[in-house]
């Protein structure tokens, strides 16, 4: 499994390492006495769609700012395309291979969309020749702004501004695209389009680093994620690997007493006849998710194919679950568990400790 804690990434990886596009080493930023990012070790590999997740104020934008040379780290280092960003020359060479939108897209309001892209080309060191102009026209078509290319930026809607930002990021055929909250301000259709766009970038082999707090969005597009909270890296790894730890068997009960009894039965069985039972815990029904009659849910950490055995174990003791389901883990659940601790029992939970089987060694 590839899930990592906040340890240096290289130390926990096994197998042939793919080319690393971006790496940070103990990256730290303090604003005065306030730590914004602490000892951050990230690794983004070529071809990744890498999500940087965290609640507001977790240090995502500060991290992106340090990667792009906008914010000076208090400590630690950034490596882009294998080179440390130690001076202007290295930074300039690296940034010319990156397309980025940090915070809100920022353009000259009185210039047209096309002129603004010409400015981006100039900033990136591209000549303003026919090749660049043709490329500008091409990306304007790609983001659906060709018909509005001659309109001033201040006439654009929020969604159009976001699209122009994406066009700017694509302009230089970058190897790495950094997108900070790319769907901010977009309507649902626009969000879907941006997700499709990111998918297409990944298919072309372009590495994408995006920050977001929209977890379902990240789950749909990202292959790997890092989760930050208050500037500290909580987890990093492939989305599938992170979520694997959350998959389990869900038992629904109509009464809390039944739930407690089931937990006791399984706890006993784990010690004797069912060593494959790794643990149980009470969980709250999630908003919008399946809710059993009565609303009492017990999550059993066991292989999915053991569901009939669990049912038999409980039945032998006269405990019957109202329903047994496979628990589909979401990044949202994982994120909440990491950033806010384990979900707490609902107010209606039975008095006393909920039986919990400690994970087996």
């Amino acid at each position: 499994m590839e899930v990592q804690s906040a340890q240096p990434v290289a130390a926990t990886e096994t197998g042939p390492a793919p080319a690393v596009v971006l790496r940070t080493e103990q990256l730290t930023k303090h604003f005065g006495s306030l730590p914004a990012v602490s000892n951050l070790n990230l690794e983004v590999r070529r071809g990744d769609v890498f999500g940087l997740l965290g609640p507001n104020g977790s240090g995502k934008t500060t991290t992106l700012g340090m990667i792009l040379g906008l914010i000076w780290p208090t400590a630690g280092r950034v490596f882009l395309f294998g080179n440390p960003m130690t001076d202007d020359r290295a930074r300039r060479a690296a940034l010319q291979r990156i397309g980025a939108i940090v915070e809100q897209p920022a353009f000259y309001p009185y210039l047209t969309g096309r002129e603004n892209l010409l400015g981006v080309a100039t900033f990136a060191g591209l000549p303003t020749d026919a090749i660049t102009r043709a490329r500008i026209d091409e990306v304007l078509v790609q983001v659906g702004l060709a018909s509005r290319a001659r309109d001033a930026y201040n006439k654009y809607s929020l969604g159009m501004k976001q699209r122009l930002g994406i066009a700017a990021a694509l302009l230089t055929n970058p190897e790495l695209i950094v997108l900070d909250e790319p769907t901010n301000g977009l309507d649902p259709a626009g969000m879907v389009e941006v997700r499709a766009l990111i998918g297409q970038l990944a298919q072309r082999g372009i590495t994408v680093l995006l920050s977001s707090h929209l977890l379902h969005e990240v789950q749909q597009v990202c292959t790997r994620v890092a989760i930050l909270k208050q500037g500290v890296l909580l987890a990093q790894g492939a989305v599938a690997d992170l979520l694997a730890s959350q998959i389990g068997i869900q038992l629904g009960f109509s009464q809390p007493e039944l739930l407690q009894k089931a937990a006791s039965v399984l706890q006993e069985a784990a010690k004797t006849t069912a060593p494959w039972l790794r643990g149980t815990r009470y969980i709250q029904p999630e908003p919008g998710a399946w809710v059993p009659p009565g609303g009492w849910l017990l999550l059993v950490d066991a292989p999915l194919e053991r569901a009939p055995d669990i049912n038999a174990l409980l039945g032998a003791q006269g405990v019957y679950a109202a329903e047994i389901r496979r628990r589909e883990a979401s990044l949202e659940q994982f994120f909440l568990a990491l950033t806010a601790g384990q979900p707490q029992p609902a107010p209606r939970a039975p008095t006393g400790a909920v039986p919990h089987i400690a994970p087996q060694e």
Binding site: L70, I71, D88, R92, I131, E138, R204
Partner: protein, 347 residues
């Protein structure tokens, strides 16, 4: 919206690794911004229209002087002779019309000469050192401050331009703008001087060789003065990370130097005596130093800037003024770079 991200159909543009070429493109971009900005167009129009308006006022003054001369003949105590060839009657009062006409024609001649080349250059220069300075402070403050206000400073840095390149590009763009604005206005002054002035009776003198050198120096020092004030606006806009700081700060400083400083020095002189050295207060300010350079460069033979460029208190030698002015410019650039370099770029 998105037809799809495909491999680029066009040949991929290639970024330049050459610092100078990249910086020069940024200079061109800054000039483009100045040209495309509505404020740039308005300021250019104000500069040109304002100068033409000044010329118009002078022409009106010329005409008004002429009209006053004509009407003043009615106040002549003694009837004027029918012909100027005839001597006035003996014993009669001298006619006041004669002296009025003389004064009026002298005034007309002065106006005509002021509107004639090369004195028209002096007129353009004087206008430029007041109105031009105000306008370039506004332009420079807006140009730099808007980069922070719009967030485009962040965009530029995140795409590969370095802080040093951005600053150098802005500084060079201001040099070019200052040279272009001063040259443009001097050309306008020349056009007025070779067309309107002679029409009003002004004479274009023969220009000696060192007169052309003086004109060249006059142009360069005027441009230097505009540039120096643009740097003040750049520095303040960078420090305040806003347009308001750049414009208000530089204009405030300009008004202080133009209005308050002479008053302060005059009061100091009145209180402490002419020999007290209080006039040297101005030596530490950039404006009087630039004026001293202007006076030194354009004092002869055409005397384009020498008559009043040095200001009311002549305490600064031209070379000293040049050194101090250059030091000021270097300080503004250095401090701006230090601020850009040391600060994080956040929104």
């Amino acid at each position: 919206m998105t037809p799809g991200i495909t491999q680029p159909n066009t040949a991929a543009p290639v970024a330049s690794g050459d610092w100078l070429a990249h910086t020069w493109r940024l200079v061109s971009w800054n000039l483009r911004l100045a040209r495309r900005r509505l404020m740039g167009k308005i300021l250019l129009s104000m500069l040109v229209v304002g100068f033409l308006g000044l010329v118009g006022i002078l022409v009106l003054g010329y005409e008004f002087t002429s009209a006053t001369t004509t009407s003043s003949t009615t106040f002549c105590a003694t009837p004027a002779p029918a012909s100027s060839d005839q001597p006035p009657p003996s014993g009669s009062q001298p006619c006041t019309t004669t002296s009025t006409t003389t004064a009026a024609s002298q005034g007309q001649q002065e106006i005509a000469q002021l509107l004639t080349f090369p004195d028209a250059l002096m007129l353009a220069g004087s206008y430029l050192t007041f109105m031009g300075l105000i306008l370039i402070c506004v332009l420079a403050g807006a140009q730099v401050g808007n980069e922070y206000g719009n967030g485009t400073h962040r965009l530029a840095l995140s795409r590969g331009a370095s802080r040093a390149q951005l600053l150098v590009a802005q500084v060079i763009a201001f040099v070019i703008l200052a040279l272009a604005a001063s040259l443009g206005l001097l050309i306008l002054g020349t056009l007025v001087g070779v067309s309107l002035g002679p029409l009003l009776g002004g004479n274009i003198p023969a220009i000696p060789a060192d007169g052309w050198v003086e004109m060249l120096g006059f142009w360069l020092v005027l441009a230097f003065k505009l540039f120096a004030y643009a740097l003040i606006a750049l520095f303040l806009a960078t420090a305040g990370r806003s347009t308001a700081a750049g414009i208000a700060g530089s204009l405030g400083y300009f008004l202080f130097e133009t209005v308050a400083l002479p008053i302060i020095i005059s009061i100091a002189l009145a209180l402490s005596g002419l020999q007290s050295g209080a006039a040297h207060i101005q030596d530490v300010f950039i404006g009087p130093n630039l004026n001293a350079v202007l006076a030194g460069v354009s004092g002869s033979p055409l005397d384009l800037g020498g008559r009043n460029a040095g200001g009311p208190f002549d305490t600064i030698a031209p070379f000293q003024g040049l050194v101090v002015s250059i030091l000021y410019c270097l300080a503004f650039i250095g401090l701006s770079y230090w601020m850009m370099r040391s600060r994080d770029v956040t929104h």
